[in-house]
Amino acid sequence: MAKSNKPIFWGLFAAGGTVTAFVTPALVLVTLFAAMRFNMDMFTYESIHAFAGWWLGKLIIFGVILVSLWHAAHRLRVTVHDFGVRADKQVAIVVYSLAGLGTLLTLIYLLRI
């Protein structure tokens, strides 16, 4: 039995699972409050743009989005299998391509800010 290449994806899954566990609920509250027009002074275009313009801000945004994408992608791969779909290789290509696309877009957008 050859050694698996799963570690690379699982490592990202585990890192992403930890990061999303800590930060995503609060982030969702932020977007939810924005959606419900609560407290608009705290998260203005200027303040968010400034954060994303800051080199550390870029790094943080990229890091959080990167691990969130690859965590969800890997878990989705396993979940699709749990729902009975057996075409694992194809599913892996689809989910990791999605994560890759998200990663690329994030890079592009961050470089434009």
């Binding site: 699972g17 930890t18 999303t20 566990a21 800590f22 930060v23 995503t24 609920p25 609060a26 982030l27 969702v28 509250l29 932020v30 977007t31 939810l32 924005a34 959606a35 419900m36 027009r37 002074d41 705290m42 998260f43 203005t44 275009y45 303040s47 968010i48 743009h49 954060f51 994303a52 945004i61 989005i65 969130s68 994408l69 965590h71 969800a72 992608a73 878990r75 989705l76 396993v78 979940t79 749990d82 729902f83 009975g84 057996r86 999605l98 998200g102 877009l105 994030t106 957008y109 961050l110 434009r112 800010i113």
Partner: protein, 128 residues
Amino acid sequence: MNSKPYVREVSKTTWFLSHPRYKRYMAREVTCIFIFAYTFLLIWGLGALANGQEAFGAFVQALGSPLGVLFNVVVLIATVYHSMSWFDVTPQAMPIQMGEEFVAGNIIVNAHYGAWAVVSLIILFWGM
């Protein structure tokens, strides 16, 4: 040796319906769909941010649509369930040995919940 052992088939699509613990597992796993979708929402917002104040304003408007609010509420439930289920199993995956004994599981879990609260407050009140 028995020449005719009987193999019981398990449905690969409905197996998780047979026991509450499997249903809980699947509920935990499908949170990834919502986190995946939410992350793409954030990327969309990032793109809008890069395109300027008007584009960003349109993004926030879209967020405020009934679908946008509903989506955020559903994601909130999913992500909280993810966080709680993740913290609860951390002691199993990363046991900490201090001296001879292992740190009690609930101490590790409570520390995670504490850190979760602190990080959340930092994010929520970042602007202040």
